[in-house]
């Protein structure tokens, strides 16, 4: 047993038992981050803050929300929005954060792709991040159902229906997911459970995993430079702060993050107070009505690109129906980014602008996904259907064919140079 002496303060008493000083060093004061970074490296802290806002506002909403198809709509739109003290604020914060968090996730993801932070030892960071993306998507989808408005209902109807496309078990699976033959009260209560318990729990665990995966390979930097973190840390601790290539998480890294966070919060609260319709679709202020299909059904903006890949294949090819091709493409689109570290055949860790063809590939991917996003919302008729088709094909080609091709060349060149 360890030796315990009389403690002279509460901190010392706790320190003897919990090693607080050491813990703080490991987690913050001597957790080393490269110095050569820009504000895009603050997105992790922004995401953590948004998730915290979602959890806290969610807890307040949970105290008044009623997961029952007869009560849900009024509990949100009357009780919470009108009767509860500042209920409207919590709801607006929750809804806008749920939408904006995806903007930050996409920025975070594309930062990772641009700076090649997904490979050469950083695969687990990328994979745990992608797991977070998927669980956040499920969390957003289940949450969107809860106000039980028209879009809640019809999005649930359309998306749960997709599982019917899975061979052999499809039809039974749809019923199993819905808890009924159609989207109804049991569907609402189970998605409520997922939204407020199971998924947040899983997300918190994966966030822990995501932080853990950063420990060994460390955070990447703006030039993809390989840094000897131990040696640089020694320099820093020896007082050569200007020469060292690393900075401690606290206070140096976070001091910059707080500033970025502050600016982001101005943007976020501007949306919460003055510009919220993009996150709180007006159509969802009509109560769910299974007898009345809205003229346009579309998912929230962050699902549009994969939704458009689903819709993009609108004609049958030989024995394959359009629906089946779309579903397969949709399935691929939803998992393809997991394979990023292996679709990229090159070992080179450098920002895209130093990787030749990869640079053009990056912008092509970004623009293609924006096109998919925009056309995912437009009615799929006439020329729009064809734009969606070509953008979907381009998306699959970019990831499945062009990326391996150009990175193989890059690997050969890098190998030749060495």
């Amino acid at each position: 047993m360890a030796q315990f002496t009389k403690a002279n303060s509460i901190y010392e008493w706790l320190d003897q038992r919990l090693a607080l000083t050491k813990l703080w060093k490991v987690l913050a004061a001597e957790y080393w981050i490269p110095k050569n970074i820009n504000f895009l490296w603050a997105m992790g802290v922004v995401l953590m803050t948004m998730f915290t806002i979602l959890v806290i506002s969610g807890i307040f909403l949970l105290m008044y929300y009623k997961p029952d198809t007869n009560l849900a709509f009024d509990s949100v739109n009357y009780t919470i929005m009108q009767e509860v003290w500042f209920g409207w604020l919590w709801r607006h914060m929750h809804a806008v954060a749920a939408s904006v968090v995806f903007l930050v996730i996409y920025i975070h993801m594309f930062t990772g792709i641009y700076y090649a932070s997904y490979k050469r030892g950083r695969e687990m960071i990328w994979l745990s991040g992608m797991l977070l993306f998927v669980t956040f998507s499920a969390e957003a989808f289940s949450g969107y159902m809860l106000p039980w408005g028209q879009m809640s209902y019809w999005a649930a109807q359309v998306i749960t229906n997709l599982f019917g496309g899975i061979p052999f078990i499809g039809d039974e699976l749809v019923i199993w997911i819905r808890g009924n033959f159609y989207v109804s009260d049991p569907t609402l209560t189970r998605f409520f459970m997922l939204h407020v318990f199971l998924l947040p729990l899983v997300i918190m665990m994966i966030i822990g995993l995501h932080f853990y995966t950063l420990r060994i390979p460390h955070v990447n930097n703006q030039d993809g430079e390989e840094i000897d973190f131990d040696a640089e840390a020694e320099k820093y601790k020896a007082g050569l702060k200007k020469e060292a290539k690393v900075i401690p998480f606290w206070p140096v890294f976070l001091s910059k993050d707080f500033f970025v966070l502050g600016v982001f919060m101005i943007f976020y609260f501007y949306l919460v107070f003055y510009h919220y319709n993009f996150a709180m679709d007006p159509i969802n202020f009509d109560p769910a009505n299974p007898m009345k299909t809205p003229p346009h059904i579309y998912p929230e903006w962050y699902f549009l690109w994969s939704y458009e890949v689903l819709r993009g294949f609108f004609f049958d090819v030989g024995p394959l129906s359009a629906m089946d091709i779309g579903l397969m493409a949709f399935g691929i689109a939803n998992v393809i980014f997991f394979f990023m570290p292996w679709l990229d055949k090159s070992d080179v860790v450098a920002p895209a602008h130093k990787r030749g063809a990869f640079f053009w590939w990056f912008w092509a991917l970004l623009i293609d996904m924006i096109i998919l996003t925009i056309w995912g919302k437009l009615p799929p008729t006439g020329i729009n259907a064809w734009i969606g088709f070509f953008a979907s094909v381009t998306f699959l080609l970019l990831l499945l064919v062009i990326l391996p091709m150009i990175t193989k060349k890059e690997a050969r060149r890098a190998g030749g140079a060495a």
Binding site: F39, Q82, K242, V252, S255, F269, P282, D286, P379
Partner: protein
């Protein structure tokens, strides 16, 4: 400098995406329509000037009060709402405020030929006659009746009264406790509640027979439709929702704004609070950002 360049790129692509999925996509999904003018150009104007005194007589002689109450003149509604709805499909409006709420050209036309003025030819005709008959009197009589209605109308109609008279006989507004049969009273016993619900259900059933569908509760319509849509829709429902059973009601622009004001008070009750709290929260984060920036500069001056 590099950071600002990166920020510009991020902001640019964010705005393009936003523009595409919001203003652009919505402009495609909801084709542009001409905004409401409230001139009711398709209706024949009243060329005669009316005399309120003769109008009062004309109202009596033509039997208007057989169905309509005129509280301002001491004439009560002949039936309660549920009985009236059983006879006509909908409870006929009290005419006390009609002169203030509705456009005078529309009033004259709706008396003369209600189905035409309300644009309900696709719902009513010889096979299914409209409950209010056409008026076969002279144009002078029409002008007199309109003049009378204007003479008894109050100068100011409250937003809620405008809604109740123009919309509230077909639409519930449950977040303000308004139902098609009237406001829900404070009820103590289960019996009273059941009786109220029964009356409401009877009225709704009659309304459904009359219109083919039950008009929606409008509590959240200010959020689901927005000012502009409601204004243009009320002026001419057929223009935005072709084939709807909702009649053109002929509100003046001013009364339409009152209806919208009421809908906003009910459906977006916290608007003022939201707008007054917003600047303080933003100010807080502006100060937060300035302090954070100064702190960051101080800390990073040691490492750069």
């Amino acid at each position: 400098m590099r950071e600002l360049k990166i920020l510009a790129v991020v902001v640019f692509f964010t705005l393009v995406t936003y523009w595409g999925v919001e203003p652009f996509a919505h402009s495609i999904m909801h084709p542009h329509h001409e905004p409401a003018t409230f001139t009711y150009d398709d209706l024949k104007p009243l060329n005669k000037s009316g005399d309120p005194k003769r109008g009062a007589e004309a109202i009596m002689n033509n039997g208007c009060t057989g169905c309509h109450g005129i509280k301002a003149a001491g004439i009560p509604a002949p039936m309660d709402p549920v009985t009236a709805s059983a006879s006509y499909g909908v409870n006929p409006p009290d005419l006390s405020t009609a002169g203030a709420l509705y456009d005078e050209k529309f009033l004259a036309n709706v008396i003369k030929n209600p189905v035409h003025a309300m644009k309900l030819e696709h719902k009513f005709g010889d096979a299914k006659p409209f409950p209010m008959p056409n008026f076969y009197g002279s144009d002078q009589d029409l002008a007199d009746i309109v003049a009378y209605l204007k003479s008894i109308a109050p100068k100011e109609v409250t937003p809620k009264d405008a809604f109740v008279n123009a919309c509230g006989r077909c639409h519930d507004m449950k977040y303000d406790n308004w139902y098609v049969i009237g406001p829900k009273p404070k009820m103590d016993t289960e019996l009273e509640k059941a009786q109220f619900n029964l009356k409401h259900a009877q009225y709704q059933a009659n309304l459904k027979k009359y219109l083919g569908t039950n008009p929606p509760d409008l509590s959240m319509y200010i959020r689901s439709r927005g000012h502009e849509y409601i204004r243009d829709f009320v002026e001419d429902p057929q223009k935005l929702l072709h084939g709807t059973a909702m009649p053109r009601v002929g509100l003046t622009e001013e009364s339409t704004m009152k209806v919208i004001e009421y809908m906003e008070k009910v459906g977006d009750r916290k608007k003022e609070k939201r707008n007054s709290l917003g600047p303080w929260v933003l100010l807080y984060f502006v100060i937060f950002s300035i302090l954070a920036y100064l702190w960051k500069k101080k800390i990073w001056s040691e490492v750069l």
